[in-house]
């Protein structure tokens, strides 16, 4: 296969994944949330149990008028939804699905790259909030900035712990080095990483920047139609990416219980991602939103010390081995 065709195929696959995975997760959320609340959820779109609800939603979003407020900073306002999607798309590039180079782009500093790109998320939110020229949007944006900068720290520290344990920054390398007993050794890091990841994608119970009951919709308040849909898509793509990263870093990626990792590795990865995504949805349904001060308190007084303690533990065990 010529190099350019190889590249096109890989990029196409990434694009398909980043657009299909959020739809699958979104539809699952519709159904899981409904049943956890004793409802049925969408039942009409598509022939079977409303499976096409999000497709119908997309058709609706496309038809809506694309409104830009008069006071808005037009180019920034218009490009923000695209930027919000960008980090997740780039991160998917380096997430290994299976062993033997089953990854869109092999990268030796994969983890470093992922953490760096994830920082882009806050830029999109700040762009959207400031360009909207709306007080609710601005407050949402400031909350998001405070939250994202705060949670970046435990996020990175927890990831650093596993990188230290594996002795590599390559995501594939981390999966190679992973052993089942790491589940216990790295458990605090897993919890910290998962919670900080939820906060990074501004997912309930960390959705203070959007907080519909206080800020209407925070930085989303002026967006309509396709641009709004893009933000929603980014949120669900974020769930996919956080689940995938948790799987790769802490749950052993393609390593399954019966061997056969070379053949079924991709399946194990997908199953693990699905399970973690389910937990993300479950947490949203079970818990209410954290207040702003609780949110910061959890980060600085809970997650950061826990991540630092984990680092010490990792270093200690690593030296002892």
């Amino acid at each position: 296969m010529p190099a350019w065709l190889d590249l096109v195929v890989r990029v196409l696959i990434v694009i398909i994944v980043i657009f299909v995975a959020p739809l699958v997760i979104g539809q699952t959320e519709h159904k899981v949330m409904a049943h956890m609340q004793g409802r049925l959820g969408p039942m009409y779109a598509g022939a079977y149990h409303g499976w096409a609800q999000l497709v119908a939603d997309a058709a609706k979003f496309i038809q809506k008028e694309d409104i830009t407020p008069r006071a808005a900073d037009r180019p920034v306002f218009k490009i923000a939804p695209v930027i919000s999607m960008l980090p997740y798309m780039i991160v998917v590039l380096v997430i290994p699905l299976g062993p033997g180079g089953l990854v869109a782009q092999k990268l030796d500093i994969g983890l470093f790259f992922v953490l760096a790109v994830f920082g882009l998320g806050v830029i999109a939110v700040l762009m959207a909030s400031w360009a909207s020229a709306n007080k609710f949007a601005l407050m949402g944006g400031l909350r998001a900035a405070a939250q994202l900068l705060g949670y970046e720290l435990p996020f990175v520290l927890a990831a650093a712990s596993v990188a230290m344990a594996a002795g590599t920054l390559s995501l594939s390398g981390i999966v190679e080095a992973w052993r089942p007993w790491w589940l216990i050794w790295q458990l605090p890091a897993l919890v910290v990483f998962f919670l900080a990841g939820l906060a990074e994608i501004r997912r309930t119970p960390f959705d203070m920047p959007i907080a519909d009951s206080e800020l209407v919709a925070g930085y989303l308040v002026e967006y309509t139609g396709l641009r709004y849909a893009f933000f929603m898509l980014a949120e669900y793509a974020g769930i996919f990416v956080i689940s995938a990263l948790t799987t790769v870093l802490f749950l052993g990626g393609w390593k399954g219980p019966f061997g056969l990792d070379t053949e079924l590795g991709w399946l194990w990865t997908l199953i693990k991602i699905a399970c973690v995504s389910f937990v993300v949805l479950w947490v949203r349904i079970a818990y209410p939103r954290l207040r702003e001060d609780q949110l910061q308190r959890l980060c600085w007084l809970g997650l950061v010390p826990a991540a630092l303690a984990q680092l010490v533990l990792t270093a200690g065990v690593k030296l002892a081995l």
Binding site: M36, Q37, G38, L40, W282
Partner: protein, 186 residues
Amino acid sequence: MKGIGLAKGLAVTFKTMTRRSTTQQYPDVDPELPPRSRGVIAHIEENCTVCLLCARECPDWAITIESHKEEVIVPGAARARQRNVLDEFNIDFALCMYCGICVEVCPFGALHWSPEFEYAEYDLRDLVHSRDRLREWVMTVPPPPAHDRNGAGAKEEVVAEKALAAAAASAPSQVDACPNDGSGRI
């Protein structure tokens, strides 16, 4: 223990997910309404004596009745009897507040609740149901629900049983109560 509520929250939501949802798929599947549901009021003209009690008791003035008197000549009687004949019986369901006082007050069992509720109209005036419409609803009136096994029996049945027992005691005398009159209200 602190934090146990977090686990409980997860457990409750997960348990709910594994149970069957109670949602009724209404337009596709008809709801199972209890027999005493207050859907619409049916009017049995044959039982109606145009006493106007329902129209007077109605707090919303939703019932309008028109009638006239007719003479019935009974052969051998000293003079002709008079009888009310119903001309119009309208219930305006736009005014009705479903209190059921008319049904309760009717001494002859002419008004009954039916659980049917799908009679929305595009025009407010079409919510006035006239005689023939009210007669159609009669077919949808369900039989009265069974009584509580441990509770007192229906008044009609109790009265009839008492009368039968009394008749059995004084053997040859006639029975006054009619045991078949189950639908009439006392």
